[in-house]
Structures are given as C-alpha cells and as structure tokens.
Symmetry: C2
Subunit: 482 residues, 2 copies
C-alpha cells in the first residue's frame, strides 16, 4: 500500500494531474479517507519530500514542488532509493511531528545559500599543518573518551577571545564544548525544562531551535519581532516561559539588533519570572560597519543567560564545534549530564583549534572574512538597489552577517521563487518558512528570500543575481503579473 | 546556603565525621529536613561527586567515597572550581534524574579501564597521511553542513565490510552515520517512541543506553540476563515493550553470547508484539577463539532490528563515529529527523575513514588488534587463575571483547575495591553499578570488577594486577577478613 500510494502520488505529480504548489491533504485526513494507517501516509510524504517532489512548510502542510526533482538529479546528485517496503510499525507522534516539520535543507553549498561561510577561504594549509603536528605523536588521552566539557586549553583560549571580542564575562570552566549548537540547546532543554514547559522563540526565527525544543516536549510560543528584536509584553499571557530564545546581536533571519532598552527589559523580566534566556550569537563576528554589538551575557553581572556560540560560521560548518557559556551555578550539573548523554571526545580537534586560536590564525581569519563578506554584501545590495529599486532590501537587514533578506510582494510566493531559482542553479531559502504557524501578533508570514552572499565569489554574484531575477520574473508571469 | 552546605559536607567527609561508604540522605529528604530547595542539595551533591568526595550508585543513592579525592588531585588532575554561587533557578526533574543517575567515568585511559581500546596502537601515521591528502585540496561540500545520513562513500565501504564480517544484510542507503552510539539511541527513542513507552534493557547492562532512553521519557524495564542472554518471558507482564535493547554478540558487561534459540525467540516475540529490537554490536570485531557470531540483524529477512555499530573500539573513541543500520521502511524518516535534530557534518572525517577502509588498513588493524587483545586477555586470565584461583573469572566472560569480569565474594564491596585500586593507580569499574535498582528476577546486584585489558601493554599487566590484588586484600582486611 505504501508503495502503491507513493507511485500513485509521484505519477500524478510528474504528469501534472496534481499541479505545482498544490497543498496535499493532511496525512491524518488522507489516511482517514483511504482507510489506511496515518503512518503509511507520513512515510510516503517523507519519501516524496526527500526526493524533491514536495516541500513542507512548518505548520501549513505539504506542497507539490514547483520544480520537479529531475532538475536535481540531472545535477549529478544520486537518486535516493525509494522506501518501497511498508512500515512494519508506526512512527511515534513526536517522530511524525519532527519529520513533518523538518526544515533543514539538503543543499548547503552555492549562491545564495544563507548561513554558509566561504569554506574555500578557510586557511586549510595552516589548519592541516597543526593537525599533522598533533598526529605526529598523539597523546592517548586525546584519542579516548573525554569528560568535563572539552579540552581545557581550548576553553581557555576561547574565554580570552570571547572576553575581548564579545564582552563575555566568564571563566574557562564555564565553557562547555558541544557538537554544534543543536546539542547545546538539547542539553539546556533537558536539564532545565520539563516536558510541557513553555519556551518563547522569535517569529520568524531559527527552525533548528524550534525543532530541538519541540523534540524535548517543550511548547514553543512564537513571539513577533520588530526592529528592536523580540516583542516583550508587560505580563506573560498565561504562565511565564521557562526559556526565552533570542538572537540579540543579529536577529535570525531578519537582521534586527536588539536595542539596549529591550535588552535591559528582557533581563529584568527573566529575573522577575525566573526564566532562562538562551542567547544565540551565531554570526556576531561579522559586523561590517560600526562597533561590534556587545552580548547580552556580559551586560549585567550574573545575568540569567546561557550563551551559545559556534565555529560553524567562523571556521567551517562541517567541523561541528560549538560552545555554551554557562552561569557558574549550572556548570557541575551540565558537565555531568553532557558526559552522560552524549559522551565526549574530539579532543584532537579541540587541540587543533586551540593552537589555531593561540597562534593568532583565528582572529586573522575572522578579520579577513569580515572584510570579504562586507565587500560581497555591498555588491549584492548595490545590485538589488540598481536592478530592483528601493523597497526590496528588508528594512531590518543590518550591515552584518552572512545573508540579507529580500522582501517580496505579498502576492508572490517565496516558495515558488525558490523552486524556480533552484531550476536555474541558484539556492535561496523562503522567508515564509521561518515563521511559525501561529504568530502572536496576527501578522501573516512575510514573503521574502534569504540570500546568502558569504559563500559566493565576487565574480559570480552578478551572474547569479541575474538568474535570480529571471526566476522572479518567471514566477510573477506565471501568476499573471507583468 | 549552597556553599555552606557544600563546605559543611566536605569538611565532615574530610575529617571522617561522615565515614567512607556512608550513604548520604536522599536529596529530597535532606532538603525537607533543612528547609531548603531540593535543587540546592542536588547541586551540592553533584559538586561533591565531580570532585570525587562521593560516588552515586544508580537507583541507590550517593555514598561517601572510600578514597578521598586528594589522591586524584595529587595525580596532576586540575581541581575543578567549586560552584559557589547559589542556583538562581532549579534544574528540571528530568535534569535531576540525569545528573543523579550519571555513570560516565571521568577517567578513560590506563590499566584496567574497560571499554577502551589501545589507542597507542592506532596506525596514526597512515590515518594522518590520508587526512593530510584530503586537506591538500578539500572539496567545499566536505566542509559545509551535510544531510542525508553521512558520506555515501563511507556508507558503501561500510556496507561491504559489514556484509563480510558481520553477516549484515543491507544496502548503503540503510546506513546512517551518527555521532557515537548515544546519538543513534536518541534518534530511535524520539522517532519510534512516545514519552511513557517501555523499553526492555539488560540487567546488568550498558548505563549509557539507560540514560539516553530515560532522558527521552522512556520507562526502562531491567530484564535479568543468563548465559544465553536476556531472559524472555512467555508474555509481557503488562504492555509489550516498544523497544528491546540487547547486546547479543557479547552481553555487556557480563560477556554471554545469546544462543540461537534465544535469538529466534526474541525475533518472534518482537514480531508478535510489534516491538523494535536495538542490537548493540559494540565490540563484536574482537572474538579470539571460534568463529565470529553472526548478528541478529541478518539472521532473518526483514528482521525487526535496528543495528548499532561503532568505530570507537576499532579505531579510537575520541573519533565519535558510529552508525545505525536501519530497516528500509525507516530510512526516509530517520534521515529527515537526523539532519533536523543534530545537523550533520564531519564529511572530511567520513572521507578519511572511507579511504582507510578501502585501502585495507581497517581490516588489517582490526586483525592485528584482535591478536594483541587476545594475548593480553590470555595473560590476565592466566594471572587470575594463578594468583586468585578458580571461581574468580566470571563464568559468562566469553573469549572476546576488551574486558572481562572478575567475580567478588558477595560481602566484598566492589565500589570499595575500585576506590582502593584507584589510590594505587589502577582503574576499574564496579559491576554492581551496571545493575538497575529494580531487577526483575529478585537477584541482588553481583559484586565484581570490570577489568579492561585491551589498553594495557603486556609489560604492565602483571604489575598492575599485583596492585589490584593489594587493593583487594586491603578492602578485605578493612572488612575484618583474612
């Protein structure tokens, strides 16, 4: 049945009997209608999505893709084998929710993929030399399991660096190295929250935080953002949130910087309510004009803040190295739980990064990338203003980070533009997908595009932007617009 | 208050007013008695444990350590800063449970640490050469985020290797590379189980599986093991379990091999109940006599088995590379959820390991280590029989793996021996700590020692074993025995 349903839907999409951009019925409804297990439908939807026939939008269902996956296959990507066997046992409700809400993209390299640094500029010879020197006579302690939050040498180098560049107030012991920021959010959710607790998240916001929190049974409450950051009410609507997840230095994805007044107010409310703030400082190293924005963590002594930082944007994402800066009172419990739940290791990598920082390569690389990304951003902004005119660059897109946001007219589907652009070899992400289903302010999701400029060589920016313009025109034409 | 309670308990332990091996009151009771938050007590207990003043035993509370932590400190380990600030907000119930039940050891290298391979024998020059060659001109796709379960080349190499050596029946697509086996167990728990579902685990068994399952709200039900593996009833006592976690090739930690009859029965029950079996094949590459034991996964077509394998024992633990072999029906959902919850990367590492396998180094290294560990095991078994006599080597300790189990008389505390041995520079793990609080068969936890021989050079085995014997005598004397 699974295979029959899969084939039937796939053929209907391929021969056009289900048109592009059609919303497929909810898995629950289709299952009820066909008298089959809901899980069977979920599997078929997951498979179709993995193969590029459909796209899901958080909270609003599964849509037929505008561009058929043959475009992807033609680009040399291996076709995934269809899961043709029926599931012998169903996914859990939480499993269904994770799979249906999944937003991570399988494409992570090329113009204009947001959130991706230019890994070809990574000083790989310097790094490789350090790695080789460590392998010459590796200490056994660096190769076996680890415990206690990561290599002390890296935590010391990092504490110094963060004090200088991010106004972080911490001892090295307060730093806990993690496998990416997702592991850090996972740990916070488990150690500080019960299932059923509330976490406020930004809307639009980072899909990964939402997914990890929800996987831990936490009820995420989307809060609108404005040009000063997350909206803060005088009183919580029901119970105070246990966690408040924010990106104060550079709101993700819209780009606002949280104002000082809003920061003070957020800290005061968190103290009053007994809430913890998670400060995700994901790309704060890249601010092209003005002074760096100091972080929330160091703004007041004993701030109720857990700080998240990452090397994904400054070194390379595949390194999978991030860190928490914890309040002292939580260090013991977090260390014990981290070793227990994830087991630790990667000390060779920690040692290499520690040497890379200590020898000054890290600061130099970040400086060089800041100038490079600043130039690329300026080129793209210039093209947008010259070729599209004013009003397209999102007003809060501050002069920082690895991407900017292009506003689209409300009647132009950003998902449609993304698919059309994909067919022309241009990667972008639709802004509407960063919105949660139930925005608190009533404002509908904006249509827009996240354009990453950091990973695009200057020589390609204009050409790729023209391809994007063609995609915009094509979708506008299809919608009956000039 | 936190600090006062910490100091007060620490001094009482140091000056002997609370004697070694005394059970501290449950955090809930002490908090009620002192009229303070339970969380305050949990923090103090976590801190004392992190510093080595106490030891927790799963399900049976916190005990004063026999050996004071100054012994550890003298060995050059950095003293952790005490968490002297009061917690401004409490840990969650699940956080308390994780911290209080934590069983991972901070010591992971030296005689006779179980579960640790000899990382000094890792062919690091060969591996480093491969890593350097990849860094010479790294493909950007290998440095950025990944998606879909890991580098296809490694999954292909692994599928071939597993078919040959472990009788695994799979396509490369069914392999999903994970950050250690803990991440694999975490993913299974989230995608296939609801909070409140039941998982059967072996008793004694692997503490890590228990912790990860419990962190996901799963009710673990300990099942006794005998010389054929996990006891299987005719009918489940209440509801059938959703998961059954077993180590059929080499029961962890006692060493039994699951009989063919028991395997068939386990598969039949899982099919009948709609349960999933997790087969943890953690050190099956190291079997010193007889033929390798084929895995459960390949025993029957479409077996309801999710197979867990790891490179931690065959390459080195700090690599943090493991894998799931999934039934085809689950591949799509697991790939989507894995990318979403953990983000993927480490493709450079995947590429290096793929080349290492393809060039034949992996099979050669495993063969060489099998002979080396076999010799070391034989030396240790010989010493046990010669110096202690018959009846000490646990009857199920099969001729395989990285450790063996020494049975202790029931009135000799294995925790006490472990602490006494630690003071003499010998690491072991107490068997009693691998038991769950509520064994189903009524049998009390056995006292015993897990002795890892894999990471001990032959030249050290006899000397370290003598130090262990002295510790045994010392604890026996202290208990008033000859």
């Amino acid at each position: 049945m699974n295979q029959r349903l899969y084939r039937c839907l796939r053929e209907a999409i391929l021969d056009g009997s289900i048109a592009a951009d059609t919303r497929l019925p909810a898995s629950r409804d289709l299952a009820a209608e066909l008298g089959i297990a809901r899980n069977t439908v979920v599997h078929v939807y997951a498979q179709l999505q993995a193969e590029g026939y459909t796209r899901s939008r958080q909270g609003s269902g599964t849509y037929v893709a505008d561009t058929l996956p043959d475009d992807y296959l033609a680009s040399g990507r291996r076709k995934r084998q269809a899961s043709t066997k029926p599931a012998r046992s169903s996914l859990s409700e939480r499993g269904v929710r994770i799979v249906e809400g999944a937003s991570a993209s399988p494409f992570q390299w090329g113009a204009f993929m947001p959130g991706v640094p230019d890994v070809t500029e990574f000083p790989h010879r310097k790094f490789s030399r350090i790695v080789s020197s460590l392998w010459r006579k590796p200490a056994p302690e660096l190769l076996t399991y680890a415990h206690g939050g990561g290599l002390p040498a890296l935590r010391e180098a990092l504490a110094q660096h963060l004090a200088l560049t991010r106004s972080i107030d911490c001892d090295p012991e307060q730093i806990l190295l993690t496998e990416g920021v997702h592991q850090g959010i996972d740990l916070v959710a488990r150690i500080l929250c019960e299932a059923g607790d509330q976490a406020w998240i930004e809307n639009p916001g980072y899909w990964g935080a939402r997914s990890v929190l929800q996987a831990n049974g936490i009820r995420t409450v989307p809060r609108a953002v404005d040009e000063e950051g997350m909206h803060l009410p005088a009183e919580p609507l029901d119970a105070p949130p246990r966690l408040i997840f924010v990106t104060p230095s550079h709101q993700y994805p819209l780009g606002a910087v949280m104002s000082l007044a809003r920061r003070r107010r957020l800290l005061a409310l968190a103290r009053q309510w007994g809430s913890w703030i998670i400060e995700d400082d994901y790309d704060s190293e890249f601010r092209f004009t003005g002074r760096p924005i100091p972080c929330l963590q160091g703004l007041e002594p004993d701030a109720p803040v857990i700080y998240l930082g990452t090397f994904s944007k400054t070194l390379y994402p595949g390194l999978r190295l991030a860190y928490l800066v914890l309040p002292k009172s939580l260090v013991g419990a977090f260390q014990a739980a981290h070793g227990e739940l994830y087991r630790e290791g990667h000390l060779m990598t920690h040692a290499a990064v520690a040497i890379f920082i200590a020898e000054g390569h890290y600061a130099a690389h970040v400086r060089r990338m800041r100038m490079l990304y600043g130039r690329r951003r300026a080129m793209l902004v210039n093209l947008i203003e010259r070729r599209l005119g004013p009003g397209w660059l999102h007003r809060d897109s501050s002069d920082a980070g690895l991407h900017l946001v292009l506003d689209l007219p409300a009647d132009l589907s950003d998902e449609a533009v993304v698919h059309a652009a994909h067919a022309r070899g241009v990667l972008t992400r639709p802004l509407s997908r960063y919105y949660d289903a139930a925005p608190d302010g009533g404002e509908p999701p904006r249509q827009g595009l996240l354009l990453g400029y950091a990973c695009v060589p200057e020589a390609d920016i204009a050409r790729k932007f023209e391809a994007l313009l063609e995609s915009l025109s094509e979708v506008a034409r299809r919608r009956g617009k000039p």
